[in-house]
């Protein structure tokens, strides 16, 4: 059983196609592990055991009949962040507001995963409505970091990152509005991709901030992430911001990376920007050392690494929180206790249903952001805050476009620190927001980013770095990350805390 869980998703898919592992056997191995270990981690909100085994049997039948055997993830189990609708399965957004909600439809990505032959194990924990950076605001309890159970898993896709890190899912989907795939991936020592805005349909993603939200994969290495991204990306007529005609095509990228590695200087020809101002005060020494060490290693392997600067870094967090909260206050107005979700028992009239259901159904951080958003959109303050932030957003995008016009990718930290202790920051919302400094700009500009392990820091915790590319440059970013993972083994180190042998 542990053999199954020690494989990457693509290795497991290969074993299933070769017939050495059965689909049900693979699902069983993961379901058993979730039962045994998830009590300590808290990665899952819901586990669909019977349904997963039935899906696995069905996948096995399709495979035997010769159907869809060319999907590399066929028969491989997966799990998704609990903001992604799966028809008829409890979908909570980690909120009391949606406790018991069962969507009457599938998200686009859920349809695509099913079509690719994926077996759905369950739904993963997050900060309530994806608002947070530590998975501590979940109504269903915290997700602990598999490397050290006293630390946070990051957020908001903490359940997705922790499940992959602990071997409780071969790969998973998360969503990223301001760093919510990349930061938990870095905290848990796994790989995550925040795709270009518009490349993955948001249909069926419970909306937080619609101009920033994007679904993406988290896996044990970048090749697993690329396979999942290829499966979920592409056009969907139900999301008018889904603009990519065809799914990402990563064919030949791995071969290209491996050929480059065999030549000895695999990064030759890559122009890498190292923004000096990202490494100044505020970045912890361990993260700084690991990330700069990665830059030197890339240089040694042939990359042309140049120190540069990206202006406006200190304006990204305020602009982001104004825009994200404004959009959140609008998106979350739908939770009114009428058609679905929680309705307060205490209401005595129609307005009372809205006020009491929302006040009892939302947690503190969600209320804070809805209030902030209502305020910056209110008459008298709209121009000073919301309009101003939209203008600064344009300036930030232009600054990134300028740098990415000259370089293949930007190498940056993901988070100023490694995963911190549970309870360490949650009482200080402003400090929590400021920790998003390296991730939010990509969402404002719509750009893709890959977070991948590059070392270890304080307390033996993993450190992640971020590769940032131009819009739709995912194949190039995947190649660069793949080269890194061919010449290093940080991503192969496993959390030992559970003694679970993977």
């Amino acid at each position: 059983m542990d053999d199954i869980r020690s494989m990457t998703a693509l290795e497991l898919g290969g074993a299933i196609r070769a017939g050495t592992v059965g689909c049900a056997e693979a699902a069983r191995a993961y379901l058993d592990a979730v039962k045994e270990f998830d009590g300590d981690i808290g990665a899952y909100i819901s586990v669909f055991e019977d349904e997963a085994l039935a899906e696995a049997e069905e996948a096995q039948r399709r495979l035997a009949a010769g159907g869809l055997g060319d999907s590399p993830l066929f028969g491989v189990p997966t799990a998704v962040k609990d903001v992604i609708c799966v028809k008829g399965r409890r979908t909570t957004a980690a909120s009391k507001m949606l406790d018991g909600f069962k969507p009457p439809y599938d998200a686009h990505v859920a349809e695509r995963l099913a079509a690719a032959g994926a077996v759905m194990l369950g739904k993963l924990n997050l900060d309530e409505f994806a608002m947070g950076g530590s998975t501590e605001t979940s109504y269903y309890g915290v997700t602990r970091n598999p490397w050290d159970l006293s630390r946070v898993s990051g957020g908001s896709s903490g359940g997705s990152a922790a499940a992959v890190a602990a071997g409780l899912a071969p790969y998973a989907l998360g969503s990223d509005t301001g760093g919510s795939i990349r930061q938990p991936s870095a905290f848990c020592g796994v790989t995550g991709i925040k795709p270009t805005y518009g490349s993955v349909s948001r249909y069926g993603l419970l909306a937080y901030a619609s101009s920033l939200d994007q679904i993406g994969p988290i896996g044990r290495d970048v090749w697993d992430c690329a396979a999942a991204l290829a499966a979920i990306s592409g056009k969907d007529r139900r999301d008018s911001t889904s603009v990519m005609e065809a799914p990402f095509d990563f064919s030949g990228v791995r071969e290209g990376a491996e050929a480059a590695v065999s030549l000895g200087t695999p990064y030759r020809g890559f122009k890498v920007a190292l923004p000096k101002n990202y490494f100044d005060a505020g970045l912890s020494e361990d993260v700084k050392a690991a990330t700069l060490g990665a830059a030197r290693e890339m240089e040694r392997l042939g990359a042309d690494v140049e120190e540069t600067g990206i202006p406006l870094l200190e304006y990204a967090v305020p602009a982001y929180y104004i825009i994200a909260c404004a959009e959140a206050s609008s998106n979350l107005s739908r939770y009114d206790g009428v058609k679905y979700g929680f309705r307060s028992e205490k209401a005595e009239d129609v307005l009372g249903v809205y006020y009491k259901s929302r006040s009892e159904g939302f947690g503190t951080e969600v209320k804070r952001r809805v209030m902030l958003g209502s305020f910056v959109l209110s008459s008298g303050y709209f121009d000073a805050y919301y309009k101003k932030a939209l203008q600064v957003r344009g300036l930030i995008k232009r600054a990134f476009d300028e740098v990415l016009g000259k370089y293949d990718f930007i190498l940056s930290p993901v988070s100023p620190t490694v995963a911190y202790k549970i309870g360490g920051q949650i009482e200080d919302p402003l400090a929590m927001y400021m920790a998003d400094i390296y991730t939010v700009s990509l969402n404002l500009a719509g750009l893709p980013g890959v977070a991948l392990p590059c070392g270890f820091g304080e307390g033996g915790m993993p450190v992640g770095m971020q590769l940032i590319g131009g819009a739709f440059s995912e194949p190039l970013l995947v190649k660069a990350a793949g080269i890194w993972q061919s010449v290093t083994d940080y991503h192969k180190k496993r959390a030992k805390v559970l003694g679970n042998g993977i």
Binding site: P104, G198, S240, A347, L372, Y385, G394, M434, A471
Partner: protein, 95 residues
């Protein structure tokens, strides 16, 4: 910027939230801190600059107004907190 009792009441009304006194005091403090931090944007001169609402210029995509779904009334009502027959049940909205 200082958040007065009056302003916090107005924000709650816009947000359709009612807060306890403790919550109100908490939000007054942290919204003040957060908005003071956001005032940093005023260091930038943005006069005349365009407002970027989306990562790229996307036009609304129109389609024929033809029904594509069947009768899913029971599926939609299945999540209702309260219903009467085939309807969502709510308090009286007009006197």
């Amino acid at each position: 910027m200082r958040i007065s009792d009056e302003l916090i009441g107005y924000i709650c009304e816009l947000s359709r939230l009612e807060l306890s006194e403790d919550e109100k005091e908490g939000r007054k403090k942290d919204l003040t801190d957060i908005l003071d931090y956001m005032d940093k944007l005023n260091e930038l001169d943005t006069r005349g600059l365009p407002e970027m609402t989306h990562p790229f210029d996307a036009a609304n995509r129109f389609r024929e107004d033809a029904p594509a779904n069947g009768d899913r009334r029971q599926e939609m009502l299945a999540n209702a907190p309260d219903r009467k027959g085939d309807f969502f049940k709510v308090f009286k909205t007009v006197e």
